[in-house]
Symmetry: C2
Subunit: 167 residues, 2 copies
Amino acid sequence: MESSGILDAETKVHETPGAHKDELRLWLRLLTCTTLIEGEVRRRLRERFDVTLPRFDLMAQLDRAEEGMTLGELSRRMMVTNGNVTGLAERLVAEGLVARRQSASDRRSHMVRLTDKGRRQFRKMAEEHESWIADLFSGLSQKDVESLLTLLGKAKASTRKSMVAAE
Amino acid sequence: MESSGILDAETKVHETPGAHKDELRLWLRLLTCTTLIEGEVRRRLRERFDVTLPRFDLMAQLDRAEEGMTLGELSRRMMVTNGNVTGLAERLVAEGLVARRQSASDRRSHMVRLTDKGRRQFRKMAEEHESWIADLFSGLSQKDVESLLTLLGKAKASTRKSMVAAE
DNA sequence: CGGAGATAGTTTAGGCTTAAAATATCGATC
DNA sequence: GATCGATATTTTAAGCCTAAACTATCTCCG
């Protein structure tokens, strides 16, 4: 069954007239890598901890902020919409992993932070998570990793610049 | 970290926590890049063509296959579940962009392919799409693009290997 | 033939995600 | 102090996505 090789999104990029075929291939490859890893992480989080990736991500943001942060800041950091964070936070509060309180100074604003239970649970998950990622990248040399960090940093800057310019 | 003692398979897997920060940073940066680009592409597809990214992706797969392909092959290539493709294809058929017919030789199997309208529409979108991607990566040199293609290819292989090994 | 297991696709239940509209509050200005 | 635009969050409607259970069909092998 496996004789025909692996199929994925970037199989057979169409031969298009134009000078930008490599950029398109790069985008597809980037997407493939991310999708592969994300799927694997999602699967392991569910199996090992019965938690979803978005919930893990939200907790990861809060773990870095002792005092917690507002829902708006959370949504900016997670790069998702406000409405999305509203729902996610709601479920995590219901599970007792996140606490929420209205800001005293600005009654529109709501702070969320990890509960003790949430922090304990997150730390445990984060430790394994880190080793999964290391494992998934274990075929790369330290130099590869550093090069990728640099180049992706450049790609990120390029993307942001192009997005602002198109505004 | 790089001790002078003997390292075996166990040692490598169970290195001290915190030894893999670069890999973790790499994963987060990869995710950020993808999320940024994906969001931008999604936004432009909606604005310019009133189409969603998943529908565009499905049509992109079909555009490469003159004869169409089965729903199963589509789901493997798109790296999404079967059920997902069922729904997506359903909506595209309803829009008249995709045609679907039962395979003669295997009655479980269903082929989908682009209609003429679907192909025309996709080609128009794909042309602009390619220029968006080129634009988003315009801050990278040709050499950067090639390096990224190589390194991400390596990352992809590493990930797949690690995923199979953990099976 | 006839069953056992594999394969193709659908359905279901639940969660994630977005864009856009709505609500509430703030801060500044008149 | 009333009003107006900005900000923080929620709500809504629609679509995306997954895992798991299910149906239908195929293939193999006795």
